[in-house]
């Protein structure tokens, strides 16, 4: 009986404490190892994702998007492009209509998205940091969002 109570108390304390994985959650921007770009400003990232042409160190930045993760989507709209989903979608459509600049390609799964980043030099993709750290052929160039 004492043993069961101790287990319950231990589990309750563990549940109340912040989870290390949650506290350290972060979203990062990755590019291919072959891309010489080492840093990119937040404004240039926003511009690239609303289909404005952006070059850094003489290299054209090609943005890719991830879909399917609701929290990651929310962070994209709130912190990366800083506009509502509706505003972003209308803006990207407007750029395609006015200037013929295609909207950033959207990927459903991480494998094909990262594969596309590896193949196209200086393409960029936002990902959870823990996912990005385990990938080969790509590297992190910017911390975009850090969890509380």
């Amino acid at each position: 009986m004492r043993c069961r109570s101790a287990t319950v108390v231990f589990l309750a304390i563990a549940w109340l404490l912040p989870q290390p994985a949650e506290a350290e959650r972060a979203v990062v921007l990755i590019t291919s190892d072959s891309c010489p770009v080492t840093d990119i400003s937040a404004l240039d990232i926003r511009k690239a994702y609303v289909s404005v042409a952006v070059s850094v160190d003489g290299r054209t930045i090609r943005p890719f998007r991830m879909d399917g993760d609701e929290l990651l989507n929310r962070i994209f709209y709130q912190s990366i492009v800083a506009m509502s989903q509706k505003s972003y979608e209308r803006r990207a459509l407007s750029m395609a209509l006015k200037y013929g600049t295609p909207r950033p390609p959207v990927f459903d799964d991480i494998d094909s998205a990262v594969d596309a980043v590896r193949r196209l030099e200086c393409s960029v993709l936002y990902l959870w940091k823990e996912d990005a750290e385990s990938l080969d052929g790509v590297r992190i160039i910017k911390l975009l969002w850090q969890g509380d």
Partner: protein, 373 residues
């Protein structure tokens, strides 16, 4: 006299030939790793009815389906854009242009494009879903809808959009090319499949300031010079009229305050009508002011007034009997899904007509519009 009802028109026309060119462009595009392509479909379905007509002959109604297809190809520096519009009313290649981007903020285009000296036209083109109301301001109407200013130019255009140190932006666009002609009761754009046709010069300019680079808010200056050759034999009204030299100078603003948005433009037109034996000079102002209020994420209430000053007696506008001289409109748009909307509009409208007193009537419209994918 009653303004002629719109007929079915096919511009550039031989649609199958035009479509072949478009498809050939599509197929020939090398799909390199650095290239991207986009195909967008803008369908819409409209119903229109007049009521309280001044005279019974003005009564009109229609149901119209429209599909606007936009294709773009973007390579490392090269870009191509084609836009084709089909409807139960017309079929027309709207834009067909190739561009070279030699800096991030500078594009040079060659081909058929929409006039740079127009705000609404440069912002929405034929993307019906992206504009809040159903109707365009009369000042911004297309040539085949009795628009008074050329919309389609074939030639060269340069577009620059430059970010300033304080994150604001200055942009400008300048174009030179072939202006439309005037035939029967409307302007007729240059037909790339009929290169021998006799068209005059069009030079257009737009200057834009945005307080934030990525903000849609903007104010600007527009100006154009259009030499509009006249097909005198196409209508008795055009007898002995050789050419119309049209100067336009104006400004526009698109501003937002929280849930409110205001779009306005004021343009001065000076038309030098060159008859065989004399010149007739004609000048007036055309304007529109549109407000929008976002009630919530899904519903937008809007209204617009299209008005002119000294335009009622204009000899130039009398050549455009279908021109909407005045429209006072209210409407409501409901975004029923991310990329679908329903819109209703009601308006008090005066059409130019062929006499000095306009044709007055009320109208209501209902529209579904969308974009795929």
């Amino acid at each position: 006299m009653i303004a002629p009802k719109k007929r079915r028109t096919t511009r550039l026309c031989r649609p199958s030939a035009t479509l072949s060119i478009l498809l050939a462009g599509l197929c020939a595009s090398p799909v390199a790793a650095e290239s991207q392509q986009e195909l967008l479909l803008f369908p819409s379905l409209d119903t229109y009815n007049t009521f309280k007509e001044e005279r019974p002959e003005i009564e009109d109604s229609f149901v119209r389906g429209t599909l606007n297809v936009l294709y773009s190809y973007s390579g490392e520096r090269f870009r191509f854009l084609g836009e084709y519009l089909w409807s139960s009313h017309e079929s027309e290649l709207e834009r067909f242009k190739g561009g070279w981007q030699w800096q991030d903020d500078t594009m040079l285009w060659l081909g058929r494009f929409h006039s740079t000296a127009r705000y609404w036209t440069s912002e929405y083109h034929h993307g019906q879903f992206l504009q809040t109301p159903i109707t365009r301001p009369s000042l911004e109407e297309w040539e085949d809808e009795s628009g008074p200013i050329p919309s389609h130019i074939t030639g060269l255009s340069l577009e620059v959009d430059r970010q300033r140190g304080d994150d604001s932006a200055f942009g400008y666009a300048i174009s030179a090319g072939l202006a439309p002609k005037f035939a029967e009761h409307e302007l007729v754009p240059y037909d790339v499949l009929d290169p021998g046709s006799d068209h005059g010069l069009a030079v257009n300019f737009r200057l834009v300031y945005r307080p934030e680079f990525l903000s849609p808010m903007q104010v600007g200056f527009i100006s154009g010079w259009n030499e509009i050759n006249v097909v005198s034999e196409s209508s008795p009204d055009l007898t002995d009229l050789d050419r119309i030299d049209q100067l336009t100078v104006g400004g526009f603003a698109d501003w937002r305050w929280s849930d409110f948005r205001l779009i306005a433009s004021l343009v001065y037109l000076n038309n030098e009508m060159k008859y065989v034996d004399a010149n007739v000079n004609d000048d007036f102002l055309l304007s529109y002011v549109q407000f929008e209020y976002a009630i919530n994420e899904d519903f937008t209430f809007f209204g617009r007034t299209d008005n002119g000053f000294d335009e009622d007696l204009s000899p130039y506008l009398r050549l455009l009997p279908g021109f909407i001289a005045h429209r006072h409109m209210l409407g409501l748009r409901w975004d029923i899904a991310s990329f679908q909307s329903l819109t209703v509009e009601i308006a008090d409208t005066s059409r130019q007509g062929e006499a000095f007193d306009h044709d007055n009537f009320k109208e209501y419209r209902f529209q579904w519009s969308s974009v795929f994918p």
